[in-house]
């Protein structure tokens, strides 16, 4: 499938934006400016970007504890996300949600979720509503391979296939559930688990943003046509710790393995190289994109840091409609 030039450049820009965003999150944590913890998406950018590029703005997504990339790729504004991460009133959730609960109706983001696999039903329900209301919207459920351990996922695979709902289950297989290699937690074959329900499925390289975009587009449009759900597995890797505090990782994964992915499989480097090799953009153009985004992200952090905290009196608002 041939991807128009400006799309190819947007794929690059979006990945860089997420990378820069997450680097600043890590910095805010290290400088003790951010309360709590955060799970960085660095290394996995191609999945969120490739999938969301294939979605309409009124399509839905559900996200995870590692959700910043999904939210940004679906159109979230960095300054409102930083504000939420810092617990400020100006944040997407007025500071009530934080890193693991960014939600935004304006961009179809049904919310990140701190319960592993917890959003499988929500995404399936949004797909059900879209079908019932004949809206032609598709819902994407992002989840890590660790969610394969949650029974709820299988109930939703069965229900969505049975009812031919326009939901796409996107398994981001980064090889680890927290500090455990997924081979120690996962028997058999991942995609066979979807195939068992008669669900369309495909496994692809999560570090190649064009491949992700291509595969996602194919199944998203299929779902939009009413031909049913799909299960997509993308092989990827998280460069940083399970969360920002997970720095000494040698006991559960070799440094060499990390190095190999960072140096050989980086989705941004690979796509940038491809853009240059194919004469779509020269280095200066790519650098310019990065420069521009750095300014944007620094300004966004600025905004968030100087934004006020919510007044304590707001604590019991928004409990009920």
């Amino acid at each position: 499938m041939s991807i128009p030039q400006e799309k190819l450049l947007r794929l690059y820009r979006q990945m860089v934006a997420i990378r820069l965003f997450e680097e600043r999150v890590n910095d805010l944590y290290t400088r003790a400016v951010m309360p709590g913890l955060a799970h960085l998406y660095i290394g996995e950018e191609a999945i969120a970007v490739g999938v969301c590029e294939a979605l309409r703005s009124d399509d839905y997504i559900t996200s995870t504890h590692r959700g910043h990339g999904h939210c940004l790729a679906k159109g979230a504004k960095p300054h409102l996300m930083f504000a939420e991460l810092l617990g400020k009133e100006a944040g997407y959730c007025k500071g009530k949600g934080g890193s693991m609960h960014i939600a935004d109706p304006a961009t179809g983001n049904l919310g990140a979720n701190a319960i592993v696999g917890g959003s499988a039903g929500i995404a399936t329900g949004a797909a059900y509503a879209s079908k019932y209301l004949k809206q032609g919207r598709v819902a994407v459920c992002f989840f890590g391979e660790g969610a394969l351990g949650q029974g709820l996922l299988y109930e939703e695979l069965n229900l969505s296939q049975l009812w031919k709902l326009p939901v796409i289950f996107v398994c981001e297989n980064n090889g680890y559930n927290e500090y455990t290699h997924f081979s120690e937690s996962t028997a058999g074959d991942v995609s066979a688990r979807a195939a068992a329900f008669g669900m369309a499925n495909e496994t692809a390289d999560g570090q190649n943003v064009r491949e992700v975009y291509g595969v996602a587009s194919k199944y998203i449009e299929r779902a939009r046509r009413g031909e049913g759900p799909a299960f997509l597995q993308f092989k990827t890797y998280r460069y940083h710790g399970h969360h920002v505090g997970d720095v000494a990782r040698a006991y559960y994964r070799p440094k060499a393995e990390e190095q190999e992915w960072v140096t050989q499989r980086d989705p941004i480097t690979l796509h940038g190289q491809w853009l240059m090799d194919n004469g779509i953009a020269a280095r200066p153009a790519l650098d310019a994109i990065q420069e521009e985004l750095i300014k944007e992200m620094d300004a966004a952090v600025e905004f968030a840091v100087s934004a006020p905290y919510p007044d304590p009196s707001k604590v019991n608002q928004d409990v009920y409609v």
């Binding site: 839905y60 559900t62 944040g91 997407y92 959730c93 007025k94 500071g95 009530k96 949600g97 609960h101 939600a103 935004d104 109706p105 049904l110 919310g111 979720n113 319960i115 917890g118 499988a120 039903g121 929500i122 995404a123 399936t124 329900g125 949004a126 797909a127 059900y128 509503a129 879209s130 019932y132 209301l133 819902a139 029974g151 709820l152 109930e155 939703e156 069965n158 229900l159 049975l162 608002q317 928004d318 409990v319 009920y320 409609v321």
Partner: protein, 339 residues
């Protein structure tokens, strides 16, 4: 409040309906009003639920709106949550309230918190139907009354109706509410409890208690099936010259503290009766609220009667003694009024 105790006088065509018929009518009326209302659960369509309460609805609304599901309570409750966020007003039917234990993450970690966690941006107008009540000889996993659990969780509303009139009005309010609402229907009451129900459309606001019987000597606070028990006890008490007031909160959350407290301030005595497990449940909260706010008007401690704190046994010889009886309420009330 008391105008909701009996059907409004101007009510057109008040019929005598069973508790189950009233619930079916509420659902049917709301489904006619609003095409976004759908109901899903196991064997809800042609079978009309295991309790046959919804028989016939599928004929009017079709299988796209009265939806049979696989045996996946967590799965379809999750669908209900997502559908509620995206424009629908789903009712999920989990059959036996005991199965709440399977769906609590979807109910209490997801549905209850989404509005708050999103800073008020998303809402979840979902109704969860659950049943409660023992003495059906269904044993420990099919007889529990678990309304205390969702009542403990901020973000949920909990409806526990006792009469056909209340059931219709409260169920309609629950469906129109923009928050997740768990409604507990008493299984035995489905057929056993009958009462006048207007054919017309009416809603009973959530959070308004109802004085089921006015009295002056002692207040009996009761929910669901225990309202009938309390009314029965009140009759017995009348014969010994004790005039009991029976107050039904109707919803555990929001909770109409004012009506409860006013009644007890008036009578100076109170027994809270509930069919849920006795410990760390409904009676503890209600008794605490009452003693906190009516302490100086109380003659003695607020007393409580709940389901015996044991798993519910199968044998009739054992099961029947686990649920508070009219006799127990009568004896305790009489002793408190020392007559």
């Amino acid at each position: 409040m008391s105008e909701t105790a009996a059907p409004p006088l101007q009510a057109t065509g008040v019929r005598e309906l069973t508790f189950g018929e009233a619930i079916k009518e509420a659902i049917a009326e709301e489904m006619r009003r609003d095409p976004k209302v759908v109901l899903m659960g196991e064997d809800v369509a042609e079978a009309g639920t295991t309790f046959k309460v919804l028989l016939g609805l599928v004929d009017e609304f079709g299988k796209d709106r009265i939806i049979d599901t696989p045996i996946s309570e967590a799965g379809f409750t999750g669908i209900g949550v997502g559908a509620a966020m995206t424009g629908m007003r789903p009712i999920v039917d989990i059959m036996f309230g005991d199965f709440l234990m399977i769906i609590m993450d979807q109910v209490a970690n997801q549905a209850a918190k989404i509005h708050y966690m999103s800073g008020g941006k998303w809402k979840v107008p979902l109704v969860i139907r659950a049943t409660m009540g023992a003495t059906r000889r269904s044993a420990a996993q099919h007889s529990q009354s678990l309304h205390a659990w969702p009542s403990h969780i901020p973000g949920l509303k909990v409806v526990v109706p006792s009469t056909p009139y209340d059931a219709k009005g409260l169920f309609k309010a629950a469906i129109r509410d923009d928050n997740p609402v768990v409604i507990f229907e008493h299984k035995i009451s489905y057929k056993k409890v009958k009462g006048p129900v207007p054919a017309e459309d009416y809603v009973i606001p959530l959070g308004v208690a109802d004085v089921k019987r006015a009295g002056s000597d002692i207040t009996l606070v009761a929910l669901s099936s225990m309202v009938q028990t309390a009314l029965g006890a009140a009759k017995m008490l009348e014969e010994v010259g004790i005039n009991a007031e029976v107050v039904d909160p109707r919803t555990t959350w929001p909770l109409d503290e004012k009506t409860l407290v006013e009644s007890v301030k008036k009578t100076s005595r109170c027994i809270v009766v509930d069919e849920g497990y006795f410990r760390y449940g409904i009676t503890g909260e209600l008794a605490s609220v009452i003693q906190e706010q009516a302490f100086y008007d109380l003659d003695g401690p607020v007393r409580r009667l709940g389901a015996m704190h044991v798993p519910i046994p199968f044998s009739p010889a054992l099961e029947d003694v686990t649920v508070p009886s009219e006799r127990q309420v009568f004896d305790l009330a009489r002793q408190m009024c020392n007559r």
